[in-house]
Symmetry: C2
Subunit: 262 residues, 2 copies
Amino acid sequence: MNVLIVFAHPDPRSLNASLRAVAVEELEAQGHSVEVTDLYAMGWKAEVDRADFPALDPDARLKVATASGDAVAADTLTEDVKAEQEKLLRAEVLILQFPLWWFTMPAILKGWVDRVYAYGFAYGVGEHSDHRWGDRYGEGMLAGKRAMLIVTTGGWEQHYSPRGINGPIDDLLFPINHGILHYPGYDVLPPFVTYRVDRLDEAGFEQAAERLRERMRTLDSTPPIPFRRQNGGDYLIPSLELRPDLGAAGSSSFKLHLQREG
Amino acid sequence: MNVLIVFAHPDPRSLNASLRAVAVEELEAQGHSVEVTDLYAMGWKAEVDRADFPALDPDARLKVATASGDAVAADTLTEDVKAEQEKLLRAEVLILQFPLWWFTMPAILKGWVDRVYAYGFAYGVGEHSDHRWGDRYGEGMLAGKRAMLIVTTGGWEQHYSPRGINGPIDDLLFPINHGILHYPGYDVLPPFVTYRVDRLDEAGFEQAAERLRERMRTLDSTPPIPFRRQNGGDYLIPSLELRPDLGAAGSSSFKLHLQREG
């Protein structure tokens, strides 16, 4: 398979860089081909602004969705963005790797999403009708592919547990797993998370590395997070609220958007 | 009061810019003084990198928390970051205003958080002991101040409702309200959210503007979101899990971190 790793750490000698090397080595040992987008190394521009839409009339207002859709249609996106979109289309598996900063991804990676996820590419795709609300949440340009997160955090695992003060890690990552990865179609694998990385000794690193190798060996057999598909009949259209007979009554957690298992 | 608005939209003629003008006008009419950090207008640098730590040994690894803490202690943060920290210390109220892009803030604003929230300023503050885990989640350098979000989104309100497909808006914003604002001490007011902004006509805008004026008039009387305090006795230390007798048994939603009302 073709695997794309989008990597967001500023230090080439960081723990994240070491884990990335472990992942790449194991993937290549399994016969996969790996491409890496190293955002800091390439000087990725994080901000969406007018420079992203060179064909936009200088006097026109910058409406991002409109400008983005026009640029996709006319093939006038900037070269850096087009190159990333081509990588996404080539890759059967996408991995986003980053340290958790303030409970989400670093700005440079958010800027990769904001800029590469153009209208007509990652959103604004497909027909709207009585039984479809576009191709999204399980459908879209990237459907049929798999994606997963590799995340490090300085905090303790218990602080991210179901009753931990930071909130459960799966809920903190829901806006990314569901809103950024499942949205344009990916089947999303459970995240690989390493905690208390500032205190990791050599034995701890080797344990993390071995867990990561195992995840890289099982990329195509690991069951994805069972997010519901938007157009599969579970949601009312156009309100896109979960059907009243599905999910726990009275519940309003992100878990509503998981299919019942078993 | 002193109010700081940190604003993140690339177009000075955007709906967000119009709403900002409404907020500023109403705040000034109420006798408040308003400062604006317009991230795009000032060309804010979004990426945390070595340039943020000019005193860091060029041969040293960049460990962000360590470098950040050292720079705070030695007063060697860059001028742009120090200026923002001074604004935060001056302001009794902080407002973050942004369009919701991919279910969170735009990269440029995340980069303001990543860079301004230095170790020893917004985290890594206070004593750790048997009954305290640092000054955070309701305590810290910015305690006693209020904060709130002003957010616009193209999506429908129902899609962000308790059973809506995107997830409930309050849960999507929890990593920001709880993890970014409550963390260094703020009392966090409920967010001001405007939906379907791409379809907003003049009457719709005037309605939104009037709702916003009302929120600006009631900044100091609106009850904050009742997030629990970390060191108030509700959490076990050091696991920082909610005490077993608090919150709904078996629940693992973000709502566990709200005090029971009434």
